[in-house]
């Protein structure tokens, strides 16, 4: 078991999940409540990573963070080292790759909320921002936990994007899934099995959380 790779993987998944909660909630809110006629275009873009091969996504992000792109040059100017093949590049790629896994459960639980509750909150003198935290967040908690679990698990098991963007630098970009690939290349099947089992166990536990939450925290208020 490569504990360095394990630690790096957990760190990557945590950072990506944190970013996606912050970015994903407003985006999910917008998808759930916007009446813009071209909204479906945004929904399609958000869903793209589900169907695209990770190599395609990885390739474009690699180009985007490369030294010839404005982002890559800006990063190099700001930090003094290139963005490609760094942990930060992995984070950018993983955020894009896991975006639908955070946004979709959130958007679906937000859109299931009765709009009249928001009206009720406004009539009672509570601002939109406070309504967000007092009504929308608690009522979309199951979607939030599902989004967090799915994002975390999905990021942990990611391979293609990491390989394209980060390569295989120990302690910087070598995640568990890359580690398994290496171990198999070395014909070290028992080590690969140990690493793979860790990933299976974590994924299973988190998915169990997601599906248990689908039974809901509290009984949904019956419509009288």
């Amino acid at each position: 078991m490569d504990w360095q790779a394990f630690g790096l993987t957990i760190r990557l998944a945590t950072v990506v999940t944190g970013i996606l909660v912050v970015v994903g909630f407003p985006l999910a809110y917008w998808i759930a409540f916007s009446t813009w006629r071209w909204k479906f275009v945004v929904e399609a873009i958000v869903a793209l990573p589900i169907v695209l091969p990770p190599t395609v996504l990885g390739f474009y992000v690699l180009v985007a963070v490369g030294q010839r792109s404005p982002i890559g040059r800006w990063w190099q100017a700001a930090t003094g080292h290139p963005l490609a093949f760094t942990f930060e590049a992995l984070v950018i790629g993983s955020v894009l790759y896991s975006l639908p896994f955070a946004v979709q459960p959130l958007a679906s639980s937000l859109s299931a909320i009765d709009r009249r509750l928001l009206d009720a909150s406004a009539v009672l003198g509570v601002s939109k921002l406070k309504t967000f935290f007092r009504v929308l967040v608690p009522l979309s908690l199951s979607g939030l936990v599902a989004g967090i679990s799915l994002t975390f698990t999905h990021t942990m098991g990611e391979f293609g994007v990491v390989l394209m963007l980060g390569g295989n630098i120990p302690g910087i970009t070598r995640t568990l899934s890359i580690n398994i690939y290496d171990q198999v290349q070395d014909l070290n099947y028992s080590a690969a099995n140990a690493t793979a089992l860790v990933l299976v166990a974590i994924a299973f536990v988190l998915l169990s959380v997601v599906y248990s939450l689908n039974r809901r925290f509290w009984r949904v208020w019956p419509r009288i």
Binding site: R116, A122, V123, G125, W221, I224
Partner: protein, 397 residues
Amino acid sequence: MSVLTKSATDRTPGAATPLDTLRVCIRKVLSATFELNVDFALSSGISIFFGPSGAGKTTLLDCIAGLTTPDSGHVSVLGHVLFDSTAGIAVPVTRRNIGYVFQDLALFPHLTVESNIAYGLAWLSAVERDARVDRLLSEMGIAALRSRRPADLSGGERQRVALARALVMQPSVLLLDEPLAALDLPVRMKIADDLRSCIQNTQTPVLYVTHSRDEVFTLGDNLLVLEHGRVIAQGTPHAVLSAPTNETVAQLAGFENIFDAVVTSIHEERGTMTCRVGGSPPGKTYREARGQGVELETPLVRSTPGDKLRVGISAGDILLSTTAPVGLSARNVLAGRLVSLSQRDAIIVAVVDCGIEVAAHLTLWARDSLGLTPGSAVWVIVKTHSCHLFQDGKRSK
């Protein structure tokens, strides 16, 4: 309590008098064929807004509460302007302090009864907040439910929580949108009573929207009838209903039978006239006048032969006889055949084809002792003064 009986013409939009608790004059186009266009003023007490589904009732309440913005007009409460299109005033919904109980109540499912009621009071100190909530909990008789969630409450209990949540804000006006519509009939009558005593205790002026006739009679002091986005009648329920001015009001007043009629002859000396009823298609909402039509003797109204009118007859005012009656004062005796019998609560609704199809209300006992079955030959008896005449949206005098 009274509706100020000024007509729409002698009021300038935007001119509110201090007398008016609620002054509303708004216009909002909702579709190519439907616009809300109302102008009324209410003083304190309970005002019932009656109208069929789709008359614009909820939109009207949303405009008053500020959830929807009217295209133009004026809304003020106790002289305080909430909306005025000419002055460019639109107080945001969060600052209007209007109590609004939605049709589906919209209680927060994740909060307890206590937290639901305290929801809008976050700006108060904890002590003051608890005091207000406790007072409402005991006034509404729901103190025992304080830590329950809405899912664990009965329909009537939810009703009270929603009312308490609105009243705890000490609103200047309370809007109730069909608060009983979703409940079963037996529960509804009991809750209507509860609701009335709760409302009467608060002294808050109330605008109560409903499409149920029963609630108008149970709760109403003051009645406004809304149809297709317009207020078509207002006054005390008794005044409005005893002199219905058009079909919506007539339906509200309980005329189950409404027919198109043409005046055929006028009998000034008897104070009556004869109308030919049926034979032309009536308004789509009412029972179709099938068959060849019949002649009815009706009270005299100002008209000339050939004028088109409508006749409304309450199903409870119609008598049925199994033999040809003799020696009756009633002028309208029509031979016919029973088409159907159906039971509604303790009432039997008998539909008879006597040239026109009329519905009559009978008791169970009357049905059984007369041995009525579909197909039976019967005579329909209608008193002249049970025929109520309507002229083009106005009731004839």
